[in-house]
């Protein structure tokens, strides 16, 4: 070859050297471990520098690009080898820069993530909402169950006449329930209804059989307030009158009700009892929702919780509203909402229900 012969290998070596000289300070970042200890600012500064480096060593005017252009001019016998070597240098340079870029980007990503990490256990920014009274919550659930079973919700006055509060309910003239010891009277001689059974009478006057109604509402009895008594409480009355109704229907209805309220595994039992407005009468118990019937403090070890009184509507009650007891029969039941509420939420003092302490109300 002539004097103008070029030392291609030397050119390649010098390009490689030039790059390596500049790249030296970045070399340790080729592996991710090398970036550990870099702050976000450092990593970002380095990342910028690496990008500049990349521009200088890989762009069109870079030394490698110049070598690429030389390839065509290299004698044919060396062209292939030279081409390969140039390719390799280019690949090395790009590989080195790429590795550093990836490592730094990883470091930057990690540090940014760290910086923006939130404590997910801090309280959520939730809107302050108010709460429905526990009696309303339970009352609505009870209404929903009975409406779905075909009952109409009814109500009646809270201040009642003798006829509705007692006489029509077959409560005799001298019965203790009528005494001012037990029942509130107004100065006009009316009484505060002592049971929601009064609505039975109003309902049967308004609707003729067949009928099925439930009546939730306030009732009043002259109990001195204490941890387990209030002179006012809530009951729900149920009444169904039709042809061919018997105690089996009553049992079936109350069992279905407690299953819907407390779950499908809830069991019931029925004991004979006495109420002036039903005959035969029965008291219903359901298996304790807390212990499932094994016995616990809530159910006083018996496994059973009293649901309420019930029975077949007394013929005198039907007659009081001109329904023929030979043609129609029916059942009625009365459940205590407050009592159920007290048990469900394990209230240690039932007076809390009507104190309206916000700290109490906000628990429901």
């Amino acid at each position: 070859m002539s004097s103008e012969a070029v030392d291609y290998d030397a050119q390649i070596a010098s390009v490689r050297e030039a790059f390596e000289r500049e790249f030296e300070r970045f070399a340790r970042f080729r592996a991710y471990e090398g970036t550990e200890g870099l702050s976000l600012d450092e990593a970002e500064a380095l990342s910028r520098e690496v990008k500049e480096l990349a521009t200088r060593h890989t762009a069109k005017k870079s030394a490698v690009s110049q070598l690429m252009k030389l390839v065509g001019r290299v004698p044919a016998e060396e062209r292939a080898r030279f081409g390969q070597l140039v390719q390799q240098v280019d690949k090395e340079i790009r590989g080195a820069l790429g590795d550093v870029g990836v490592a730094l980007a990883g470091r930057i990503q990690l540090l940014k993530t760290e910086r923006e990490r939130v404590d997910v256990t801090l309280p959520g920014r939730r809107p302050r909402r108010g709460h429905l009274h526990p009696i309303t919550l339970l009352r609505q659930r009870i209404e929903d169950v009975f409406v779905s079973m075909g009952y109409a919700v009814e109500d009646g006055p809270e201040v009642e006449t003798d006829f509705y509060n007692f006489t029509a309910l077959n409560i005799p003239e001298l019965h203790p329930a009528r005494s001012p010891q037990d029942t509130f009277y107004t100065t006009d001689g009316l009484s505060l209804r002592s049971q929601t059974s009064t609505v039975q009478i109003h309902a049967m006057q308004r609707r003729r059989p067949p009928l099925r109604v439930v009546a939730p509402g306030r009732v009043f009895r002259r109990d001195t307030p204490d941890a387990t008594h209030n002179p006012m409480f809530f009951q729900v009355e149920g009444l169904l009158v039709d042809r061919g109704i018997n105690m089996g229907h009553l049992k079936g209805t109350l069992s279905e009700f407690v299953r819907r309220l407390f779950g499908p595994a809830t069991r019931t039992r029925f004991r004979p009892s006495y109420f002036p407005f039903t005959e035969p009468s029965m008291e219903a118990d359901y298996s304790c929702f807390k212990c499932g019937g094994a016995g616990c403090r809530l159910c006083k070890g018996s496994g059973w919780i009293e649901l309420g009184g019930s029975g077949m509507v007394h013929p005198n009650v039907l007659r009081a509203v001109q329904i023929d007891p030979e043609e129609f029969s029916g059942f009625a039941f009365g459940l205590g909402i407050d009592r159920m509420c007290g048990l469900m939420y394990e209230l240690d003092d039932i007076r809390l229900l009507f104190e309206n302490d916000v700290r109490f109300l906000e628990q429901f």
């Binding site: 920014r125 809107p127 302050r128 909402r129 108010g130 709460h131 429905l132 009274h133 309303t136 209404e143 009975f146 409406v147 779905s148 075909g150 009952y151 919700v153 009814e154 006055p157 201040v159 009642e160 010891q181 509130f184 009277y185 107004t186 100065t187 006009d188 009316l190 505060l192 067949p210 009928l211 099925r212 009043f220 002259r222 307030p225 169904l240 039709d242 018997n246 105690m247 089996g248 229907h249 049992k251 079936g252 069992s255 279905e256 039992r269 029925f270 004991r271 004979p272 009892s273 006495y274 005959e279 035969p280 029965m282 013929p315 104190e355 309206n356 302490d357 916000v358 700290r359 109300l361």
Partner: protein, 703 residues
């Protein structure tokens, strides 16, 4: 009532263990609350229903147990050892008031020796918590618990003229009872007297002077049937409930009077010696006859759902002491004489219950009744629920307050109501204000609430006292007002209206977050409007007005469709002082019944605007008395079709305003349906608006 298991076994051949027996009885309607083991015996604690006085004894429970298990019944021995002389030789009985004492029997035992009772008797009594006294007293007590018939033993020697007079007490008559208390009697009380004075309160307690003492030799044993109502009244009046009164007031077996007496006398002769008269002076002028009740066997199944064969029904009833009587055999009807101790059984349904409860309620198959009707909620309930939901979402808690309030909370010193009732509560203006309880149970709480506000204010005071300063409450419930007297009982019933009330105090909430400012009138109003919107009623109108319990200048009457339905505002200074509130409290109350009676506002679609609207603001200085509402109405009534709405941007009442003036900034929106409005058109319309406000309210445009 306590029953000793061992004692019970004296009367039945029952073999069931105590707890099993308790379960069996409970499931037959005789509720056993607890079973306690006590020194080789078991005590069954009964909680009986008031219709079963016949079970207030060992015999009563034994009879039930026998019927339920088929075990035999062993009646106690009534043979008296030493008999001599007729009772009328030693005493006489006169009933003056037979209405209160249908039957009275006296039998005498002479020559007894008073001493402590033998161990077996002491043991029986102690098992059921009774304290032994002496043999004769203990025997009467023993027979009471054994057979359910209360008895009394008099020291015959201490009865003046040795005779008994059953009569009403004389006015002012006094008697020192066995418990050592001197009691003043009234003329409605029945007493047992001798020739001169009362010696016992009939059916309640004997007198101290004629009681059995160590020196007693001759005993008069009383066994009687007293009128239940009379005994109840007397017992209540004297504040004295005894084992005897408890049974008499529920009704004892009027045919068991002599049997119990015989048992008592037999035991006295056996344990205290002496000679008994061969008979008793038994005054029983009008024999009480038990009813006969028919039973159509098909009714058992019709009512109970149990298919019990007629023979089985008969067997059950006979085992309980019902006597088969002549019935209409052709129709397959049965008839039963009711045992004299079962005063609760009167009609066929009662017999059905007897059969069903002995046969077993647990054998009744369960079924859901076929449904010919559909369910429905109370009218307006869906809207009520929607309002509750919106209010809780807005941070209000639901309160439930007692329906009666203290008189002083409702009425001021001059006897006037402290609260203005919700409109519509009083049917006629000024109609007899309050529903008053004649027998309150909470001191002073005599008024049926005329308003929900006293309850909410009381709740607020309670919360303040417990450190909660931010209170938002709502309540729905009945409020009451008396009605003018009327001949018709139903018509004289008080007016009852469902009211809805709201209370706000403390820090305001905005979008569920603490707003960093105190709540004011507009937080209250917003809550009320949100609730009304949820109930889908029309727009509420607020009109400045004086309301008795609200502070002048911060109170309004609330109207709906022109009808007044409530009021809202800041609690008056007078009431705030009364409750010792040191921060402003805002309250509103509306007639919910009336509100829900207005039709539900239907949701109606209007096409979305296709062309943009233009909003123009105007700031005006006007008299403070000129309301936003008036200005808004004035603008809308101009009849500019393109004017789509008037909103409030800002109220400025700062120091730079002249006295009595304020500045309002209003935003008026203009839009046409079919095209984009040109600026000149909007300018012209807006100019009309501004000049109308200037002209009508003397408002001045602000720079």
């Amino acid at each position: 009532m306590d029953i000793s298991y061992n004692w019970l076994r004296d009367l039945t051949e029952i073999t069931l263990a105590p707890r099993d027996l308790a379960d069996r009885l409970t499931m037959a309607g005789l509720a056993v609350d607890a079973v306690h083991e006590k020194g080789g015996d078991h005590v069954l604690e009964f909680d009986l229903t008031s219709n079963r006085p016949d079970c207030l004894s060992n015999l009563g429970i034994a009879r039930e147990a026998a019927a339920l298990t088929g075990a035999g019944l062993k009646l106690p021995d009534l043979t008296v050892k030493n008999v001599g002389g007729r009772a009328e030789q030693f005493t006489a009985v006169e009933i003056e008031d037979a209405d209160l004492c249908p039957r009275y029997a006296a039998r005498v035992v002479r020559g007894v020796k008073i001493q402590p009772s033998p161990d077996w008797l002491v043991e029986r009594l102690q098992a059921i918590g009774q304290r032994p006294i002496n043999n004769v007293a203990d025997i009467t007590n023993f027979v009471l618990h054994e057979l359910g018939q209360p008895l009394h033993a008099f020291d015959l020697a201490k009865l003046s003229e040795f005779r008994i007079v059953v009569r009403r007490a004389r006015a002012g008559e006094k008697l020192k009872t066995l418990d050592g208390v001197e009691r003043e009697l009234d003329e409605q009380m029945l007493v047992i007297a001798d020739a001169v004075r009362a010696v016992a309160v009939a059916g309640v307690m004997g007198g101290e002077e004629t009681e059995i003492s160590g020196g007693t030799t001759d005993v008069l044993v009383e066994s009687a049937y007293f009128d239940p109502q009379s005994v109840r009244r007397t017992s209540k009046r004297l504040g004295l409930q005894t084992e005897a009164s408890y049974r008499f007031e529920r009704g004892v077996d009027y045919e068991g009077v002599r049997r119990a007496q015989d048992r008592c006398v037999a035991l006295i002769c056996e344990l205290a010696g002496g000679t008994a008269t061969e008979d008793a002076v038994d005054v029983y002028p009008t024999r009480i006859t038990p009813p006969t009740v028919r039973l159509r066997p098909r009714r058992v199944e019709e009512l109970s759902g149990l298919s019990v064969p007629a023979e089985e029904s008969g067997r059950i009833l006979r085992s309980l002491g019902f006597e088969p009587a002549e019935g209409d055999v052709q129709n397959g009807e049965l008839s039963f004489g009711v045992p004299t101790w079962r005063t609760d059984v009167k009609i066929e349904e009662d017999l059905v219950e007897e059969v069903a409860r002995v046969y077993g309620y647990d054998k009744i198959g369960e079924a859901l009744p076929p449904s010919p009707v559909t369910g429905e909620y109370l009218l307006g309930d869906r809207r009520r629920r929607a309002a509750r939901q919106v209010l809780t979402a807005a941070g209000f808690n639901e309160a439930v307050s007692i329906s009666f309030i203290e008189e002083s909370s409702g009425v001021n010193e001059s006897g006037e109501s402290r609260f203005e009732p919700v409109p519509g509560l009083q049917k006629v203006e000024g109609e007899g204000a309050f529903v008053v309880l004649s027998n309150p149970i909470i001191e002073g709480a005599r008024l049926m609430r005329p308003s929900l506000l006293p309850g909410l204010l009381e709740a607020t005071r309670h919360n303040f006292n417990h450190g909660t300063r931010d209170v938002r409450l709502f309540e729905t419930g009945r409020v009451f007002a008396a009605r003018a007297a009327s001949g018709d009982e139903d018509e004289s019933r008080p007016s009852e209206v469902e009211a809805f009330a709201l209370l706000v105090t403390g820090e305001a909430l905005e979008e569920g977050k603490a707003a960093g400012r105190a709540a004011d009138f507009f937080d209250l109003k917003g809550g009320l409007e949100a609730a009304a919107d949820a109930m889908r009623v029309g727009e509420l109108e607020f009109e400045p007005a004086s309301v008795r319990h609200l502070r002048e200048g911060q109170s309004a009457r609330v109207r709906l469709g022109g009808q007044e339905i409530g009021h809202a505002g800041r609690l008056s200074e007078e009431l705030a002082a009364r409750y010792k509130f040191r921060q402003p409290v805002y309250v509103a109350e509306v007639n919910l019944t009336a509100l829900l009676a207005t039709g539900e506002r239907p949701a109606r679609y209007t096409p979305l605007p296709r062309f943009p609207g233009v909003a123009r603001d105007v700031s005006l200085v006007a008299d403070r008395r000129v309301t936003f509402g008036e200005m808004r109405r004035a603008i809308l009534s101009l009849g500019i079709e393109e004017c789509r709405g008037v909103a409030l941007v800002d109220v400025y009442e700062g120091a730079s305003m002249p006295e009595g003036k304020r500045s309002l900034t209003l935003r008026v929106e203009y839009r046409a349906d079919e095209r984009t409005l040109r600026d000149e058109e909007v300018d012209a319309m807006h100019a009309r608006v501004v000049s109308a406000l200037e002209g009508e309210f003397g408002a001045q445009l602000r720079g």
